[in-house]
């Protein structure tokens, strides 16, 4: 029997590579029957260097039976173009989307893009493996949980796919050889989910609970990186590095002992307010040299609107401790959050500046599918945004469009003024 040929496509910001596709392939291929029935190729394209026509040419030459595209807001406009032409080039191939830009609004994409056959809803590994199995054995897609698909003129939504309770069921894409070590762009994941529910963020994917990978697996991955000799720096994709003190200490110990000083951490994302002297000790042990944190805004009403907390005293103390430890600090501010206005953004900026972080990053609010603001921002705050990815906010009741433009231009000047010395 001829093997089913699947090509998994990611369209990344220049220089980056998809970890998600590595998980899909590693999980699918752990099944012996699937290994016999399917060949899976992962290909990373770049938003800057590759255009849809190039990508379609590549796919046309591969003649796959299935193409799966990992969809993020930064590459979605290219994905839309690919989908529009896909069936005229590969009429018999199945086209499947997944990822945070597609999954939360699966039905809408199926309606908008007639070339798309199915969209994976939610966590992808189990659903993708089941989809491959169904296609390989010509079973009905209705048997595949977690799928939105086209059945003739009808859209079908299957039952939700249960989350993989034990994340260790997903083989490490690194330790199984699915993904190679890559300098600067190798990402490890120690848990999924996020205990916070920031209204603009989809990093936690709305998973109802936190699930952890076995620490020994993380240790093995770090050891593998250190052994590879090809990676000097690596990153964690975890939404928060210092989620719990015990976990932070455990991870620091793993990095210190398994990394053996051969590879060091890129910037990690932290919650500033929970940083104590003990956290700093753990960061030092882990070789952390830069951290990224909020506060996004410091204005109480806005914080409430976007379900965040900010404690000025604890935030200030964290910045001081980090500075004393020689760890570089990067603070994020979002322009356009509902409840803020032009001067409230300035108030956030002056507050953050007063803590003298090494760098301040200003970004315009993106209203991402699956987030609270996507679902409720319109009705609650009069929030409007560009329906086209990357879904830049247009305005809201407290922050009308014209002031958004003003704030955007002002922040560009502030960004240069504050961060120029880093060049």
């Amino acid at each position: 029997m001829r093997k089913l040929r699947a090509v998994l496509v990611a369209i990344n910001v220049c220089g980056y590579h998809s970890l998600a596709l590595g998980y899909l392939k590693a999980y699918a291929l752990k099944d012996e029957a699937l290994r016999q029935a399917v060949d899976i190729e992962i290909i990373d394209f770049c938003t800057d260097c590759n255009n849809p026509r190039q990508i379609l040419y590549y796919l046309a030459r591969k003649k796959p039976d299935l193409v799966g595209i990992s969809c993020y807001c930064w590459g979605m406009n290219q994905v839309v173009e690919i989908c529009a032409q896909f069936k005229s080039i590969l009429p018999k191939a199945a086209l499947v989307l997944g990822g945070p830009e597609a999954s939360p609004i699966a039905e809408a994409w199926l309606v908008r893009l007639p070339g798309v056959d199915a969209v994976v809803k939610g966590e992808g590994e189990a659903t993708f493996a089941a989809l491959l199995s169904a296609l390989a054995h010509k079973r009905n897609l209705k048997e595949v949980a977690g799928l939105a698909f086209r059945d003739g003129n009808q859209l079908c939504i299957t039952a939700p796919q249960p989350l993989i309770d034990d994340l260790n069921e997903i083989p490490s894409p690194y330790l199984t050889g699915v993904l190679p070590p890559r300098e600067g762009v190798t990402y490890l994941e120690t848990f999924r989910g996020c205990p916070f529910r920031c209204a603009y963020c989809y990093e936690g994917k709305n998973f109802p609970k936190l699930r952890y990978f076995d620490p020994e697996r993380t240790r093995a991955e770090v050891e593998w990186l250190a052994r590879s000799g090809q990676v000097q720096t690596f990153s964690f994709v975890d939404s928060v590095f210092n989620l719990r003190p015990s976990k932070t200490a455990e991870l620091a110990e793993i990095i210190a002992t398994a990394g053996r000083g051969r590879c060091r951490l890129h910037t990690i994302e932290v919650v500033a307010e929970t940083i104590t002297e003990k956290t700093i000790d753990a960061f030092r042990r882990a070789g952390v040299n830069s951290v990224e944190m909020g506060p996004q805004t410091v204005n109480p009403a806005t914080l409430k609107n976007v379900h965040r907390f900010h404690n000025p005293e604890r935030f200030g103390k964290a910045l001081r401790l980090l500075r004393q430890a020689g760890i570089r600090t990067l603070c994020d501010l979002i322009v356009g959050l509902p409840g803020d206005d032009f001067f409230k953004v300035l108030n956030s900026a002056r507050t953050v500046f007063s803590h003298a972080p090494d760098r301040v990053v200003f970004s315009i609010l993106h209203v991402l599918p699956g987030t609270y603001l996507w679902e409720h921002g319109g009705e609650k705050y009069g929030l409007t945004f560009d329906p086209k990815p990357p879904h830049i906010a247009v305005g809201c009741r407290s922050f009308p469009f014209e002031d958004m433009v003003r704030a955007e231009v002002m922040c560009k000047a502030l960004d240069r003024e504050y961060n120029l010395h880093l060049q």
């Binding site: 032009f342 300035l346 500046f353 003298a356 003003r406 231009v409 000047a413 003024e417 120029l420």
Partner: protein
């Protein structure tokens, strides 16, 4: 937004602007005196101002000292005429001066030279800015110096402020700042011209601010009013200000302008109670920060 500690470098200058803040001060304080001022400032952000700081032969040494004393951002307020000297410009950048606040008095030689009192100044200032904008790296590291153009608002350039913005856009400034520098200019008339200039800058994605006009006169353009931010100079409140909704958050009007023109300038401009949607946010900005740096 960032506060720069000012270090006076002397009033000597090739230009003769009638509104020069350094007028009457020492032409060239000794190197030791300026060094003492730098040590006293002991700040992350330092501004060298005069006069024309770039006329000092020791300007690089002063910059190096400021960096050694911990300055992260060094700014020089200049007419840019000396920036055409490649050696000087390169050595300034090398020494750590990456912020340039360049005074541009108008969009044409006729206006600029008339305001600053020196024929030929415009061409040199433009050439200096152009030279500054040629800098794209320092020792192999990408670097585009920060350029803020300061336009003194006077009767000679009032009707050409928008044109001034248009002419500056070619240099891709990071910011354009308008300073009321003529005590005789009627505020409301000035504001009308400034609005056009601000709109032009904003449309072209360049941030622009004003200094010297109160919030009521700049209604609709409050975000551009420099005095709305903490640390900006404050003026005097007038009798009509009593009934203004923005009274507590407005810096008022420069006392010198009031002395010259009287209080009629803000009559009829008052923001009625409760009409400014920025009021609460402006109050927030007036509050001292809870956490000390």
């Amino acid at each position: 937004m960032l506060h720069f500690k000012r270090v006076f470098t002397g009033s000597g200058c090739q230009n003769a602007c009638p509104f020069c803040q350094a007028a009457g001060r020492e032409a060239e304080p000794s190197q030791a005196a300026v060094e003492a001022a730098i040590r006293e400032a002991c700040a992350e952000n330092i501004l060298f101002w005069g006069g024309e700081p770039l006329l000092r032969p020791d300007i690089n040494e002063l910059a190096c000292l400021a960096v050694r004393r911990g300055a992260k951002r060094l700014k020089v307020r200049t007419n840019a005429r000396k920036l055409v000297e490649a050696d000087l410009l390169n050595s300034l950048i090398e020494a750590g001066v990456w912020f340039f606040e360049v005074k541009v008095c108008g969009p044409t030689p006729e206006i600029h030279d008339a305001v600053c009192g020196r024929r030929g100044a415009f061409e040199e200032t433009m050439a200096g800015i152009a030279a500054l904008r040629q800098v794209t790296e320092m020792r192999g590291i990408k670097l585009t110096p920060y350029l803020e153009c300061v336009v003194p608002v006077v009767k000679e350039n009032l009707s050409s402020l928008e044109q001034a913005v248009q002419s500056l856009l070619a240099f891709e400034p990071d910011r354009i700042h308008f300073e009321l520098s003529d005590l005789d200019l009627p505020l409301t008339r000035t504001a009308a011209y400034l609005r056009g200039a601000l709109e032009t800058a904003l449309f072209n994605k360049v941030w622009a601010t004003t200094l010297g006009l109160p919030l009521c006169v700049m209604a609709g353009f409050e975000p551009h009013v420099r005095e709305a931010l903490p640390g900006a100079p404050t003026g005097r409140k007038l009798k009509p200000c009593k009934g203004c909704a923005l009274r507590d958050v407005c810096a008022g009007v420069d006392a010198a302008v009031i002395n010259r023109q009287g209080e009629r300038q803000v009559e009829g401009q008052l923001a009625p109670q409760g009409t400014s949607r920025y009021l609460e946010s402006l109050k927030l900005l007036r509050q001292p920060l809870k956490v000390a740096p």
